[in-house]
């Protein structure tokens, strides 16, 4: 369930004109940028970019980059891109700049098979490399095996579940954890090739036979390393993405100075998807509305933009 609020009647030409006016003169009228862009869906944003180009022979995105700065600019830039292009940019940044590989795990595991395909296509267009090529070059060993398997997957999306298979693969996973071989090829095979419904059945079977969830058991297993962290994130993204995102936000606020990258990423990438559900979960776990947490921890235009995406109407 999305939080994005879009007015009934939208004229992309008017929007383009209003944005242009917002850029003109001294300084920039950020309020207009927010009131327009934060209330348009992906298709409309794309059309606004086209209309802007038609009217002014200028790339709206480039103009925005020069007009606004900081966290606000980063958020608006990510927001205005097509979702698959956005994910391609996020993946590239994660690979080349921040080494936040969990972003890649998120994209690979939360998106649908077709969406992930679109991301891979967008990545070709933007970076003249395949996503898997760059993932492979920038990672090694077990992390590479896991990430490559995740980003190249084109999972079957049917609802069919084979319960016997779920049980046997849950056993394989359990044995691998018990033998301290969580990087075993079988673990990777199961997690990176099975359909999501099959995997959820597998995780349920694991919980039924072991009494605890696989992610909890993994936590207890020794050797905390980056691979294990990413493995747990992959499982959580496949199994309970809403809970995963709520935790990302909760941790982002706790961090000293906040993790704006994470806050922006979750809100921007989920506003048109399931941010409403994340909001509800956040409130039930923290007794504080997400809007309030965002308002407390962020400021200025960046804050206003995020709140607008969260559903605040002026």
């Amino acid at each position: 369930m999305a939080t994005l609020v879009v007015p009934q009647n939208v004229s992309v030409v008017e929007d383009a004109e209003n944005l242009r006016k917002a850029f003109e003169g001294w300084g920039t009228n950020e309020k207009v940028i927010i009131s327009v862009l934060a209330h348009r869906n992906a298709a409309q944003r794309k059309q606004i970019r086209l209309a802007y180009w038609d009217l002014y022979q200028e790339d709206l995105v480039k103009r925005l980059e020069s007009e606004i700065k900081g966290d606000f600019e980063r958020a608006v830039y990510r927001w205005i891109l097509d979702p698959e292009d956005r994910d391609a940019v996020l993946a590239n940044v994660a690979l080349k700049k921040s080494s936040d590989y969990h972003v890649i795990v998120e994209i690979a595991c939360v998106r649908s098979s077709e969406e992930l395909l679109a991301v891979r296509r967008a990545y070709h267009a933007r970076y003249k490399h395949s996503l898997e090529e760059d993932v492979a070059v920038h990672t090694t060993g077990d992390i590479r095996k896991l990430l490559l398997g995740l980003v190249t997957a084109f999972r079957y999306e049917g609802a069919e579940v084979n319960s016997r298979l779920a049980k046997s693969e849950a056993d394989i996973l359990h044995d691998a954890i018990k033998d301290k071989k969580i990087n075993h090829d079988e673990v990777i095979r199961i997690l990176t090739t099975r359909s999501k419904t099959q995997l959820m059945a597998t995780f349920n079977s694991f919980k039924d036979s072991q009494g605890t969830s696989i992610t909890k058991v993994l936590l207890g297993e020794t050797a905390d390393n980056e691979y294990k962290r990413l493995l747990r994130i992959a499982i959580r993204c496949i199994n309970e993405p809403i809970k995963y995102y709520e935790k990302v936000l909760r941790n982002a606020f706790k961090k000293f100075g906040n993790d704006e990258d994470a806050i922006t990423r979750v809100i921007v990438t989920r506003a048109e998807k399931d941010l409403q559900l994340i909001k509800e979960l956040y409130y039930s776990r923290n007794s504080v509305p997400l809007d309030q947490a965002v308002a407390k921890e962020t400021s200025g235009d960046y804050k206003d933009f995020l709140l607008a995406l969260l559903g605040k109407q002026d």
Partner: protein, 314 residues
């Protein structure tokens, strides 16, 4: 005398690839009991002398003949199919015959364009309710699994841009892995797999070019001695016309087994709309005989006519 010629014609009608239906009808169909007895007595490869004084069909030969009768039907059905369904079915069938059929999986993964391979993966979902990578991972074991799963999952960048520096250093990596081939199988080398399964085809061609400078020999000379899977992967990726020519030539040989023979249909049908012309040229330059003539000499009846029709369009 006419009897002898007829006998020869009948023998030819029942040997090679496919069946000469017309000759069988005109000779055998019009034969009287005495002629047929002669046919049975003289065709000792088809009929055996039974202890109760009659000539009996050899069961094994009947089974082989059945395959030849059906060769035309299979070719036609495959030809009429959507290329995506074709490739999906071919891979699925190959998985039931591994490991002799690794070559088919390899061939499809490496010689199709990125979009064609994607289409095959989609069709696979529809046909088999599983993802292609899921099934390949389950049916293929050993070192080949990593390679084949990665090959079928690739979505290679298809633009011309190549980084010569990366190509040079990757040529060195591959040369080193091949040189150490007796200690460690190159297809177990993570870097070799990374390069072969994620790099774009133009990039791989650049690697082959640099390989000669680095190692003094052509990559295909050095790989000759290595694992056949490595050899065929390298060839499929960068010299598919030579690969297809060889596969087709093997299929036409007298000593070809059932699986090898199937390659003739597979190659002609799957490449007829793509690069059959180039394959014909390559075949001619490799073997000094036009492929059409080879097929004319070694195939029969409707099967032969269908293949020749596919090969001489436009």
């Amino acid at each position: 005398m006419a009897h002898l010629q007829e006998l020869e014609a009948l023998t030819k009608a029942l040997s090679g690839l496919g069946i000469d239906e017309k000759s069988l009808i005109s000779i055998l169909g019009k034969s009287d009991p005495a002629r047929r007895t002669t046919f049975r007595q003289r065709s000792t490869h088809f009929f055996i002398e039974d202890e109760r004084s009659f000539e009996r069909w050899d069961d094994h030969r009947i089974n082989l003949l059945r395959l030849e009768f059906v060769r035309f039907e299979n070719a036609l059905v495959l030809w009429a199919m959507h290329p995506w369904e074709r490739d999906a079915r071919l891979v699925h069938e190959a998985l039931t015959l591994v490991p002799q059929s690794y070559r088919v999986i390899l061939e499809i993964a490496c010689t199709r364009s990125s979009e064609e391979l994607l289409g095959a993966r989609k069709a696979y979902h529809s046909l088999y309710d599983h993802s292609i990578e899921e099934d390949v991972a389950i049916h293929v074991t050993g070192s080949e699994r990593k390679l084949l799963v990665a090959l079928v999952s690739a979505y290679r960048y298809e633009g011309p841009k190549v980084s010569e520096d990366a190509a040079k250093s990757e040529a060195k990596l591959i040369a080193k892995a091949i040189k150490n081939g007796d200690k460690k199988n190159p297809i177990d080398d993570d870097e070799v797999i990374r390069i072969l399964t994620t790099r774009s085809k133009p990039h791989l061609k650049a690697i082959y070019k640099h390989y000669k400078e680095v190692s003094g020999k052509n990559i295909n000379e050095d790989i000759e001695a290595a694992d056949f899977i490595l050899k065929e992967t390298a060839e499929c990726l960068c010299n598919p016309h030579a690969y297809f020519s060889k596969v087709v030539d093997e299929a036409i040989r007298n000593d070809a087994d059932h699986n090898t023979k199937k390659a003739l249909t597979r190659v002609i049908v799957t490449r007829a709309d793509v690069d059959l012309k180039e394959i014909k040229e390559e075949y001619n330059s490799l073997y000094g005989v036009p492929l059409t003539q080879k097929i004319d000499d070694n195939a029969n009846g409707n099967y032969k006519d269908l293949l020749l029709a596919l090969m001489t369009r436009d």
